[in-house]
Symmetry: C2
Subunit: 189 residues, 2 copies
DNA sequence: TAGATTTATTAACAATTGTTATCGTGGCCC
DNA sequence: GGGCCACGATAACAATTGTTAATAAATCTA
């Protein structure tokens, strides 16, 4: 299950591996809702195969917030950690193979893992990296135009453009699918 | 120095207080640059009085990313923690009274603080809250129009609008000062 | 205090994006 | 296979924002 992790962070995998029995395999079709906006999250997911879209409802339209792929962990962070209603919905885009862990087990696991200094450091490194990615993505929203954001996405994360339906990408870029279609047309010339 | 913290998180203050001698008082005028974009951060700041603007250069224009006020800690997170060039500049807006801590001391302090389970939990709570704030702010960028963002800011953080020059607020909202001026005109009617 | 600089408002025009609607294609389910 | 639905492209028009420039007001500084 954590084979990929083994390569990048062997020390973490060594300890994390002990908790493999906390995780439950789950196979679901495309467009399966894993958590509804407004509900309180009790599960975190690890993606073995497939992808998940995080989105929320804005005045009747859905707005995509993030995409997650293989070997990534996904949850509605604030809801899962603080047991408050989720601001977002989690939904698969493709048929997916997931592993989920219950909050109770996760809390227990984290408590034990955090007690080990070297593991604690690696875990907080992961959190930090996530926050930096977040910030970088956010900065591009402030400084770039929609066209620039599309061109950047095409350059830096082509797998997203290849794999995700276009109207999801449009809302991820903060524009309508009509506008994205125009931009694609302009870029290709 | 940490009087305010004492009220909100007494347990944390009790332990953090021991490191007060790591912090150095610094009094600076308005528009003092504390860290330049591209430099590697070696200091983190705590604001006793005044406010700090975090911004970056985008094609010759400065774009404001965040504001920080009294009783908040500020650093270029990714630069300070990973010793990489900063993506942002830190600059005071008003004459300010700050306390700074050297990275070396900070690392040492955090190592010791994180070894105490209850303190570690509070520290990670603070990080989590910051990340949630971040996300909420980001979501408003995706879903709201500039006018809505201004109205929200007016409602939820009026202290920012009262205290910060308008052209900084404009770039914080992702628009030009001309556009903000028009929006203010329209809203007031 | 006087001059210089910074900050905010407004106008006119250009450029971009949103809205609504239509059309065509391709995939999927019964 | 037929019909339905999801998806993407395009057009026409409305609305919003950016750009540039001129001006006024406020603030800083010598």
């Amino acid at each position: 299950m954590f084979d990929q992790l083994k390569k990048s962070r062997p020390k973490l995998q060594e300890h994390w591996g002990k908790y493999a029995n906390y995780y439950h395999r789950l196979e679901v079709p495309a467009k399966t809702v894993l958590l509804n906006e407004g509900d309180i999250s009790k599960k975190a997911y690890y993606i073995e195969k497939g992808c998940i879209r995080v989105w929320f409802n804005n005045k009747g339209k859905d707005v995509t917030f993030q995409f997650f792929f293989e070997q990534e962990s996904v949850s509605s962070l604030e809801s899962f950690k603080k047991s408050i209603p989720s601001q977002v919905t989690l939904e698969t885009i493709e048929p997916s193979v997931l592993y989920w862990i219950h909050k109770k087990d996760h809390d227990n696991m984290m408590k034990e893992l955090n007690a080990i200094p070297e593991v604690r450091e690696q875990l907080s490194d992961i959190l930090l990296d996530r926050q930096i990615n977040y910030m970088t993505h956010f900065m591009s929203f402030i400084k770039d135009t929609p066209k620039e954001r599309y061109v950047n996405l095409l350059k830096e994360k082509p797998h997203i453009i290849k794999r995700i339906p276009q109207h999801y990408i449009a809302s991820y870029l903060g524009i309508t699918s009509v506008s994205l279609s125009r931009i694609r047309n302009a870029v290709s010339k």
